[in-house]
């Protein structure tokens, strides 16, 4: 429960003289208040970071790889949305698995809480501390260990940035099976730990399928070598799956072996305008019928989302205004074949009035520009007041129902309720924009939105994870028996509870 009203601190910056009068600029989105002050939560029974601990870390990593300066710590303490702020006093930047092992072993022995952090692009507060947890950053663990070009298996350290990996693979005619908007900053270790979904899941499946092996450091410092690069290996329990999606609460991922695919020779993107959501579904089912084998992405965007793009980002629909928009990407090994399939599909959709209009292109600069409209949407949130951000998955017939219900439920409280997302995966990102945060509005939204999600047979977190913000709602989604088993596993793997406390399991 959020205790205090979240104030927007005014900060005077860069005073400039104008005719002798100082002109002051106010940052409207300054640093948020401390999470520990905003939420009714008690600090766990962990030690506080003392001088002797600092001495150990300094000796282990050297002065240049620990950060204790408060202003330098800001970027690690504050989340991407700028809604949450931890109070960590130290960031550690190990370079090797051995160092991670020594760090965790030491923290475990001294009951020091740890918050593993990759690119800090998470949106549920899983990557930032709640209190003074020691942040262990994978920033410096960014080496490619091996690429087997024939089999397409890439082994790399957890701190590799997704976009860098894909650019590296592009030169070898391979493609990373994961793609998401945060690609320029997110780390593979974080992607794996959150079982990130992204834009290509429709074609390449999720990380549970693509991750062939992991190297994980356990809470007590034990290095768990699960780094198989074999496609098939049914020898014993499949432990790696425990760590994929457990958001850093069961172990710290240090290396990943992932199955990459051949870079497609042919890519096409169609951007369509549709009358209503029923037509969106009809178009999707037709797309699967006609082009299942080349379908790579099927995204939907509603009108208020496009309005946000227009107003705040200067981006717009390439085909004019329509109630709903769909972005389809196809990739394949033969340009002519793909074009034929796509043309036939689009012609049918036009004839049957599934779609009102659209454009299609195989040109790189054009389809990148079209994708930009979809991928950049989250960057508009920070300009739209305070945006409550949600991520649900539903059976397709219920996909858009929650947005419509929420619009009615919020009424004039919100100036924009908008939804867009990976329709192909049944995953919708729902946002509620208000002018500024206030507790009453927050209470009006939660837990209503989650209860309604349950009513529509959906999940309250399709791909973002539970992190800190949704941990308390786990019992809405999972039975007591499964939660008990999760707690037992956590107890077994991390008896002192030092790994990312206050997250996932409330």
């Amino acid at each position: 429960m959020i205790k205090n009203v979240w104030k927007l601190p005014l900060r005077i910056s860069n005073s400039t003289k104008n005719n002798g009068f100082p002109v002051t600029k106010y940052w409207i989105h300054s640093q948020p208040n401390f999470t520990k002050n905003n939420f009714n939560i008690k600090r766990g029974n962990f030690s506080h970071v003392e001088e002797e601990h600092l001495y150990f870390f300094r000796k282990l990593l050297g002065e240049s790889r620990i950060i204790t300066d408060l202003s330098d710590l800001e970027k690690y303490n504050v989340d991407w949305n700028k809604h949450l702020r931890g109070a960590s006093t130290i960031v550690l930047k190990p370079k090797t698995t051995e160092e991670v092992s020594k760090i965790l072993s030491y923290c475990n022995n001294n009951r020091l809480a740890v918050c593993p952090q990759g690119g800090n692009t998470g949106v549920v507060g899983g990557a930032t501390p709640v209190f003074d947890e020691i942040i262990v950053s994978t920033e410096l663990m960014n080496k490619v260990i091996n690429l087997d070009e024939k089999s397409g298996v890439l082994t790399c350290e957890a701190g590799c940035i997704l976009q860098n990996m894909d650019e590296f693979l592009q030169q070898k005619n391979l493609i990373f099976p994961l793609d998401l908007g945060a690609k320029g900053s997110c780390h593979i270790g974080g992607n794996v730990s959150t079982n990130a979904g992204g834009l290509r899941l429709l074609k390449y499946g999720n990380l549970h399928g693509n991750v062939l092996g992991l190297e994980v450091v356990q809470a007590n410092g034990t290095v768990l070598d699960l780094l198989s690069t074999l496609k098939k290996d049914n020898t014993g329990y499949h432990l790696k799956h425990l760590f994929i999606g457990s958001e850093g609460t069961l172990g710290l991922v240090t290396k990943v072996a992932i199955q990459c695919r051949l870079r497609p020779k042919s890519t096409h993107v169609a951007f369509l305008g549709l009358q209503n959501f029923n037509q969106v579904l009809k178009t999707f089912y037709k797309a699967k019928q006609d082009m299942d084998e080349i379908l790579t992405a099927f995204e939907v965007i509603d009108t208020p989302s496009m309005e946000l793009a227009n107003e705040k980002l200067g981006l717009g629909s390439p085909i004019g205004d329509y109630p709903f928009y769909v972005l389809i990407e196809t990739t394949g090994s033969n340009e002519k074949h793909d074009e034929e399939k796509l043309d036939g599909f689009l012609q049918t959709c036009l004839n049957k009035n599934f779609i009102l209009n659209g454009t299609v292109t195989g040109e790189v600069s054009k389809y990148k520009a079209i994708w930009e409209v979809r991928e950049k949407l989250p960057q508009g949130y920070i300009k739209d007041g305070f945006v409550f951000m949600y991520d649900m998955s539903f059976p397709l017939e219920n996909y858009y129902k929650l947005v419509e219900d929420l619009r009615e439920h919020m009424g004039s409280l919100s100036h924009r309720v908008f939804g867009f997302g990976h329709l192909g995966d049944g995953n919708i990102h729902i946002q509620i924009s208000v002018k500024e945060f206030n507790q009453d509005v927050a209470n009006h939204i939660e837990p209503y939105i989650f209860e309604l999600t349950k009513k529509y047979n959906g999940s309250i977190s399709a791909e973002h994870g539970m992190g800190f913000l949704k941990a308390k709602y786990l019992n809405l989604m999972k039975s007591q028996e499964s939660i008990n088993l999760m707690k037992n596993i956590k107890q077994m793997l991390d008896p002192n509870g030092i790994l990312n406390p206050y997250k996932v399991l409330f």
Partner: protein, 253 residues
């Protein structure tokens, strides 16, 4: 209403990373994604807008190059051109095709088709020549309005705002005229599906330079194509004195 000829060139898509061939004879084009030269898209867009305002009656899109150039003509047709002409130039001839050849080709077609306006992009993003419009005007002995950022058509003349080094220059030209399109002339539309479908049925005539009486024998030889030198990394200096010393050392001060 004016009859308009638009020149469109097939170039490597600007979002694609260019790689030089190991034998330094040129850049790698095989298997590389191509698209219409962005300035030519602007040219077509301007022509289509004139037609929508009923200031133009027919738009003819012309491209010189190998068979694949037809893709670019199709794009022009999808954007609103009425018919296309593909001037087939391939192999070695295409590698040495220069604006001087293209301008003669465009001029001949302009005469054959009795057009009143020729619009091309100001330059192609592969050779950056910025010569075709000017040469075409010279061959035809027509006025030229280059680097156009605004075009207004009157009855027998056009008023064009040009982007020049000193700012903006406005000139009036009598028709017939050659125009080269600059970046800010307009924002090209995405071709919409109904038009993309319609474009498949629009005619593309095929001719050769010989048919037009134009000699495309090479007038240049490519000696070598190389990557630009790798940028030297910067140096971090400890203080201003060191900076001044380095600047003096390098003879910059």
């Amino acid at each position: 209403m004016a009859r308009v000829l638009v020149g469109v060139k097939r170039v490597i898509d600007y979002a694609v990373k260019i790689r030089v061939k190991p034998d330094k004879s040129g850049v790698v084009t095989d298997g590389v994604k191509h698209s219409m030269n962005p300035f030519d898209e602007i040219a077509i867009e301007e022509a289509v807008r004139l037609k929508e305002k009923k200031l133009a009656s027919e738009i003819i899109a012309v491209s010189c190059g190998p068979t694949q150039s037809q893709e670019v003509i199709r794009t022009a047709l999808a954007m609103g051109a009425d018919k296309g002409i593909h001037v087939e130039v391939s192999g070695k001839d295409y590698e040495t095709l220069q604006p001087i050849h293209v301008s003669k080709i465009l001029a001949k077609i302009a005469q054959n088709e009795k057009v009143d306006m020729v619009i091309v992009g100001k330059q192609a993003i592969d050779d950056d020549s910025n010569q075709t419009a000017q040469m075409t005007a010279a061959v035809l002995d027509w006025p030229q309005a280059t680097f156009a950022s605004k075009v207004e058509k009157g009855d027998k003349e056009i008023t064009v705002t040009r982007e020049v080094d000193g700012g903006l220059e406005t000139i009036k030209c009598k028709l017939p005229v050659v125009i080269s399109a600059d970046l800010r002339l307009n924002e090209p539309r995405y071709a919409t599906l109904p038009n993309i479908m319609k474009a498949k049925k629009k005619p593309i005539a095929k001719v050769t330079p010989k048919d037009l009486g134009v000699d495309v024998s090479p007038r240049i030889t490519v000696v070598s194509v190389e990557d630009p030198p790798v940028r030297e990394p910067g140096v971090i200096l400890p203080d201003v004195d060191a900076l001044v010393a380095k600047l003096k050392e390098g003879g910059h001060v």
